[in-house]
């Protein structure tokens, strides 16, 4: 560390001394400044590096290691890929768990598409704009626990949603929504998209109102309107925001709806609403298969990585054309 610290300025100082332009006194002063800056730079960054290493990097590497072992929290024996092959991919409920995750992720584009349409309505509407904005964005302040508890009650057998159905003569559809395998999954997906709908509307609305208004105005004067205006002018202008919404919401679908599932269905009935993320929790802390949980953790990381690469590619492409 200390050797490294002195080397770079010393080289620069030599270069300065050889150059005829820089007077020696100025170069010495400059050298001290550079050395000082390097010294303080390292010192300022040090706490973050130490904490992040101890609490993120080291446990992640431990997780990677334990995912290749049979581990009960105390002792571990190397088992190679057994946790991935037999613990995850060949386990009897994996097909359903993967399907659940895929369903939640694939529902996101539909939710975001609806958000784009509504954001466009909002951007073309001055009436009560601040109020709508405030209301739509509100779910961001609500926790999954609060949302989950409320909807679990709303959707329960004797809950208000069934009450509403019977009162409008659709009583034959009323059921315990979270009790059936398919209806529980659909309920989770709808509640998840409900929570992100307004957030995405506001983000896209922000994009639409900060976009260059002169382009929209020029297009309008040229006779563009309605659907054509929406697809040719509005969408290209907010493309980055659409990508952001897709990525944020999909990432949440993969790695942060644990609490929603925990409070609404606890992953059930059976594993019908268990996603990859929720399986990590049940495998580790309900069943005690910690190394399988660690393997799920690595799997989730790889999925996040794929998302990031896709996003980076999309960004590069957008910059190219």
């Amino acid at each position: 560390m200390t050797v490294d610290l002195r080397r770079a300025p010393a080289e620069k100082a030599v270069a300065w001394r050889r150059s005829p332009a820089g007077p020696p006194r100025a170069s010495q002063k400059r050298q001290t400044v550079i050395r000082q800056r390097q010294y303080w730079g390292r010192l300022f960054v040090l706490p973050a590096v130490v904490l992040v290493s101890l609490l993120i990097i080291v446990p992640s590497i431990q997780g990677l290691y334990y995912s290749f072992t049979n581990w009960n929290g105390r002792s571990a024996t190397w088992v190679g890929l057994d946790n991935y092959i037999n613990g995850i991919f060949l386990s009897p409920d994996f097909a359903r768990i993967a399907l659940n995750s895929v369903c939640v992720v694939l529902s996101v584009p539909f939710g975001v598409a609806l958000s784009v349409i509504v954001a466009n309505l909002l951007a073309n509407n001055l009436w009560g704009r601040a109020w709508f904005r405030g209301i739509y964005f509100l779910p961001i302040a609500l926790s999954w626990v609060v949302i989950g508890i409320t909807f679990a009650y709303l959707l329960s057998g004797r809950g208000p949603i069934n009450g509403l159905l019977s009162s409008v003569g659709l009583g034959m559809f009323s059921q315990d929504w979270l009790g059936g395998e398919t209806s529980a999954l659909i309920s989770i997906i709808l509640v998840f998209n409900w929570s992100y709908f307004g957030i995405n509307v506001v983000l896209l609305f922000t994009g639409m109102t900060t976009a260059d208004a002169s382009i929209t105005e020029a297009a309008r004067l040229d006779g563009a309107h309605g659907v054509k205006m929406f697809f040719n002018i509005v969408i290209p202008q907010v493309r980055r925001y659409v990508e952001l919404c897709l990525i944020l919401t999909m990432a949440a679908a993969i790695t942060s709806i644990f609490a929603l599932i925990y409070t609404m269905t606890s992953g059930g009935p059976g594993v019908s609403t268990t996603t990859l993320e929720y399986a990590l929790y049940t495998r580790s802390f309900s069943l005690g298969h910690f190394s399988q949980g660690a393997a799920f953790g690595i799997l989730l990381f790889l999925i996040s990585l794929v998302f990031a690469v896709v996003r980076l590619r999309a960004g590069v492409k957008a910059d190219d054309d």
Partner: protein, 309 residues
């Protein structure tokens, strides 16, 4: 910004020859002039009125759909569940005299510690990365920012055993620090971008005038960074206050449970009292709703931080 605009222009110019509308360079047409003077035909006016009305109905309907569960919670928490729907504050009284206020205090402690950790550590690091570049600073910064991609689940199990071996399960300050550190990558990313936009000359001038680097950081950059720090702090508060997974695993002892943990557990118990659960949910949501009402704009700015360049 400029490439985005050029993209849009090429898109439209590609499109125009295909459509039946006149080319872009056409002189102003009478119809568009009529639009501006308000001399529209009756049919146009009716359809405009219709679309405005429809827009408003859709927007109001969706707003109602968004806020309905919240209204429902308020209603349930304030009424008797015996069919009469008489207004009563029993549920609120029961909740306020129960274990929720204590849990709220723990949530507050954890959140405050996390925010202090994030803001102090990440502003220091961001200043170092943005203004005091040293040999190897770029790879280190890249590593920290790449950690934004690592989901908490990847390290939570091993972290749990590490904490357990050190006897830190149920230790509120330690878990507050853990929460803070999980958000350092994101906070460093935002704050580094923020500091980079401030001219280097500001540092150089102050150094030439004899100020030390810590002094430059403390007296010049920290005050300038206030808006970015507010954004980071607000997002961190909402994230920590609302989190369940880490709290559930790391703060399981009765005296250390956060609001989220208590609420998530309340639902399981056999004595499921709708009014009390709704009152409790609202109570646990109120701090975040207040923060949201005050800092709405900063939250949106923080979430869109990845889009701008």
């Amino acid at each position: 910004m400029t490439d985005r605009n050029s993209t849009i222009e090429t898109d439209t110019s590609n499109d125009v020859p295909l459509s039946a509308t006149p080319p872009r360079v056409a002189p102003p047409r009478s119809s568009s002039a009529a639009h501006r003077t308000g001399g529209r035909r009756v049919g146009d006016r009716i359809s405009a009125l219709f679309s405005t009305g429809l827009t408003r109905i859709v927007l109001v309907g969706l707003a109602a759909g968004t806020i309905a569960p919240l209204v429902f919670m308020v209603f349930k928490s304030l009424t008797k569940q015996d069919g009469t729907n008489a207004v009563t504050f029993d549920a609120w009284a029961a909740v306020l005299n129960g274990k929720l206020p204590q849990a709220g205090l723990i949530s507050l402690q954890v959140s405050v510690i996390a925010i202090l950790v994030i803001l102090s550590i990440a502003t220091l690091a961001a200043f170092g990365f943005a203004k005091l570049s040293f040999t190897g600073s770029q790879p280190i910064m890249a590593t920290i920012i790449v950690l934004m991609l690592v989901p908490g689940q990847t390290f939570i199990i091993t972290e749990y055993f590490n904490f357990s071996h050190l006897g830190l399960i149920g230790n509120i300050p330690a878990v507050g620090v853990l929460y803070g550190v999980t958000q350092i990558p994101f906070a460093t990313f935002i704050l580094t971008n923020f500091f980079r936009a401030i001219p280097d000359e500001l540092v150089e001038a102050a150094i030439i005038d004899g100020a030390s680097y810590p002094r430059v950081f403390w007296s010049i950059f920290l005050p300038l960074a206030r808006p970015a720090m507010v954004t980071v702090g607000v997002l961190a508060f909402i994230g920590v206050w609302n989190d369940l997974l880490i709290a559930l695993l790391f703060l399981p002892t009765p005296g250390s449970r956060t609001l989220s943990v208590v609420m998530a557990g309340a639902q399981d118990t056999r004595t499921f009292d709708v009014s009390q659960v709704m009152a409790g949910s609202l109570l646990s949501a109120i701090p975040c709703i207040i923060v949201y009402v005050i800092f709405q704009r900063q939250i949106a700015v923080g979430l869109t931080a990845g889009t701008g360049k």
